[in-house]
Symmetry: C2
Subunit: 155 residues, 2 copies
Amino acid sequence: MACVEKYLTWYKEIIKKNGIKNTVQKEAVLNVLIKASSHLTVEEIYQQIKDVKIGLATVYRSLKLFEDLGIAKEIPMGGARYYELKLFGKKPLHIHFKCMNCNAMTDIDDTETNLDYIRLNQKVEHKMGLEVNDANITLLGLCKECREKLNAQTK
Amino acid sequence: MACVEKYLTWYKEIIKKNGIKNTVQKEAVLNVLIKASSHLTVEEIYQQIKDVKIGLATVYRSLKLFEDLGIAKEIPMGGARYYELKLFGKKPLHIHFKCMNCNAMTDIDDTETNLDYIRLNQKVEHKMGLEVNDANITLLGLCKECREKLNAQTK
DNA sequence: CTACCTGCAAAACGTTTGCAAGACG
DNA sequence: CGTCTTGCAAACGTTTTGCAGGTAG
């Protein structure tokens, strides 16, 4: 994937611009996040880094840094904290879905739907006189597979 | 408030129906939640109970129980966990707003807006073939007061 | 009277921090 | 070379658990 390389360069640019040093550890965390298809916990990110010597504390520190720089975003869900990247290619806002049966956490990848939510957020912003910079939207329920499976059992 | 009494009776009904024993401790936790205007952390709930002998562990156990029974709902936000009641008088879904400046966590109490979000959730449900039972929506930004304060400083 | 519930203290868990050594620029 | 960063281990705050005693139904 050429995209991974390109994004990585961009991220490193942001880090450098803020007077922070680029290290193999930060790069490793970024790499995992870029390649991740879904949202990961700190522990999962830590486990997926095997080619670089890294401590758990550094993963925490890197993620906090990335949050401050606006690179990454935390999504809290029932005790756990998931992380994902915010920039480049990702929508500025998107909806998360958590299946209460299989516990999978996925994105709802539908441009029109995402736009609907963004429009609604703007409406709220004007109506209430607030300034909305970010939004966490998580729907909970049954995913398509689990729904069909459970329906089949109860028939 | 007669409402507090009424709700309390209803909640105790639910607890009894599920074969769980009603105790002064559970009642105390419910009372705090019913009377609370905003969302509370476990520690805050614990502190507000003074007339009953109760241990922190019991507060945790009660809240978990209430969640399982569908009485209460957890709202995770940046490390902390807030709790609120789900039933009776409360909207089935409403939007939380967290101010990044003063850290206050409030509800967006606007029926029309809440309905907009519910409609949107239903749209997603049908479009993606999911079953949506619940939704966590938290907007992050600046509240009206902080926004004006900060604007005044930068002029 | 029995099953469930409670308080307490200990344990478990996730996250943060102090420090000396090391790496980036 | 100075500053920022790291790994390690200890500290920390929150949540869970085991257990003996207590209470609701």
